[in-house]
Symmetry: C2
Subunit: 397 residues, 2 copies
């Protein structure tokens, strides 16, 4: 067995134990095609490193009678503390998990503003990671890795933020800035990609290798999973959906261009139209607009309907290009009931290439605001596992 | 070395010898990381099967003096005859190549109509494959595999045509129909994907793992390469660009839907507009329209300019979604000079998300009509190699 094969074996077995939750060694050999002898060697290493542990099998009683106590292998939760954070507009949500992915604590903090200098935002995040850790009697430096989701264009492998609505400057090596203040490995990713990671790890995408997640809130986010991996594009700025154009020379977008999907469906776009239609005096213009549309107000309905049709057209274009197994419409905002409505999905289905085979499944996943942060933790969990496995290989020489 | 490892080794070495064209065994070991002993074993097998051959190394003279004649390995051209065909509107183009990919013959036949019953089209193709083979003194049944490109929605791994403008019926197991008439393995693929295969195998995409090919002719075709592989989508109908929507409730498309990109940029769309503008009496309406636009006719310019801007918008959406390394604008039609013009590429660059990193490279690749058929042959070459390797594994037990 070469060094390389042993590394691959460790990766495969750790990942398979994680997937199975609890599994006897013999099933591991069957499931992975790795020989029983190699499974024994590698799991002994993983046990020695403390990444996995033995537990009594659920079927132990029976076997114990025959004098052969059975054990299963599982991930050792105490092996690592993992953090996840989502930097939102005027708030940060954080979660703390163990190495099994079990939630230990969460924390949310409201911010006084939306846009920060990178150093300042890193300090705020550092303080709140400390608060999070204290909730379980630990300190921030005991966390093995922190996954941080932020809106904008992020080159995740480099931890580099090309641009974010939360940062006052462009082109920030944000992972490095964070690590300067938090002193633990930090992994920065586009927030919508983290939702895709969450759906893949423990959500509706668990059994799918190719799917798309769409989230409408203040902007329009998208995460693409192809062949079980997040698709990022070659410059780290792929999977951009909100600024695809749905109308030549169309409505003005916050980005300065015209005709972007966001300029029709995002909060500010609906607010702008509601104000033009005389609804500008409301404290909560979106809620008021949607309420008026529900009550049958023709102008409000016209605003919401056009936005829904533009959204359907954008979705149909994604289906024509990707032909995914599944589309997950995710999020927590109240616009949901309009954009994720049957009519919109129906309009999308009528705008895709028609073949005699069912169109992709569309599912709606409403979740609370911790989903983003949990995606961050799932991303960090992957990275921390990689680091732990890399260290094992170094020790082994 | 397990059976599985040996299979992978054969695949890697055959592919690497193909890439290198001529290579000594020792470099193969270095380039692939496979041990020298295994390289010796596996290349002996490949030599015995006749898939590769030994040739005198270019540096032989020098070494011969020292009594050690050097040999290189290369693909044995005579190992297999490979065919490629493109079914176009009212014509079929065919090429015949050897196993090295060297062109041996080509053949083009005009057809009396555009739409055929599947059986009828298969008979026409069979006759012309026979004509093609006869050009080098061979018969069709001596060809090891035929790659066939056809417009429409094709599930390539299944050889299944969901829909094609060349076929009178939907849902055709076209590879099976062809094999019934031609009696050799036939591989059916969407024609634009075959151009992507051609660009990847011997064109401008050779050194790129992620790129997009766009072809405007009677329709708008697209091929996507992600991670060195053709991206097909989960139902085999991904990478559809011509029917993505660029305008809600826009111009009527031949497909029956509204606002498709094709309804603005395809031949019929330009002809339709030219006729509305009083240019309907021309025999060659597209050529006349483009000539008038060149001469500065404002209506003709308006038609062509809008089409160009719609095309730029569609391209920008692809860049926002895929963030590819490279976009190849390929084809042979004269609309080229308008749609593939600097202004269109400039408009595309202004409509993508702006980051401080260069946008994807855009290259224009003008080629003759044999490119499609050569892509078909490149696709068949891959498949025939797979079959040959699978047979070796069966013999080896």
């Amino acid at each position: 067995m070469s060094v390389n094969q042993r590394e691959i074996g460790r990766r495969v077995l750790l990942s398979d134990i994680r997937k199975a939750q609890k599994i006897p060694r013999i099933f591991l050999a069957e499931r992975t095609g790795i020989s029983r002898a190699t499974v024994t060697t590698i799991t002994a290493e993983l046990l020695r490193e403390g990444l996995i542990e033995e537990v009594t099998s659920d079927s132990a009683d029976k076997d114990a009678r025959r004098g052969r106590p059975k054990v299963d292998l599982k991930i050792r939760g105490d092996a690592h503390l993992i953090g996840g954070a989502k930097i939102a507009n005027k708030s940060i949500s954080l979660v703390l998990q163990d190495f099994e992915g079990k939630p230990l604590a969460d924390h949310k903090v409201d911010l006084s503003k939306s846009v920060f200098e990178p150093e300042e935002l890193a300090r705020v995040l550092a303080e709140n990671v400390e608060v999070l850790a204290a909730k379980v009697g630990r300190t921030a430096d005991q966390i093995s890795g922190l996954g941080v989701g932020i809106a904008g264009i992020v080159d995740a492998p480099q931890g580099f933020v090309h641009w974010s609505p939360s940062l006052s400057v462009r082109n920030v090596e944000f992972a490095k800035v964070l690590e300067h203040h938090i002193s633990i490995p930090c992994f920065v990713e586009n927030d919508a990609n983290l939702v895709a990671v969450a759906e893949k790890s423990f959500g509706l995408g668990q059994d799918h290798s190719d799917f798309i997640v769409i989230i409408i809130e203040s902007g329009v986010g998208m995460g693409i999973v192809i062949g079980d991996e997040i698709y990022r594009g070659t410059r780290g700025c792929g999977a951009e959906f909100g600024h695809t154009k749905v109308h030549l020379d169309g409505a003005l977008c916050r980005c300065g261009q015209r005709g972007c999907l966001e300029a029709y469906v995002a909060d500010y776009a609906l607010t702008r139209e509601a104000m033009s239609a005389g609804g500008g005096s409301d404290d909560q213009p979106i809620e008021a607009l949607l309420a008026r549309a529900s009550d049958g107000d023709p102008v409000a309905k016209s605003i919401v309907n056009r936005a829904g049709r533009m959204f359907a057209m954008g979705l149909a274009n994604l289906v024509n290009i990707f032909d995914p197994e599944l589309i997950i419409l995710a999020g927590e905002q109240m616009q949901f009931s309009y954009f994720y409505a049957d009519e919109v999905i129906h309009a999308m289905r009528n705008s895709i290439v028609q073949i005699d085979k069912a169109p992709p499944e569309v599912v709606i996943h409403k979740w609370g605001d911790l989903m983003w942060a949990r995606g961050g933790a799932a991303y960090a969990l992957d990275k921390v596992s990689e680091i732990a496995l890399a260290e094992m290989s170094e020790h082994a020489g």
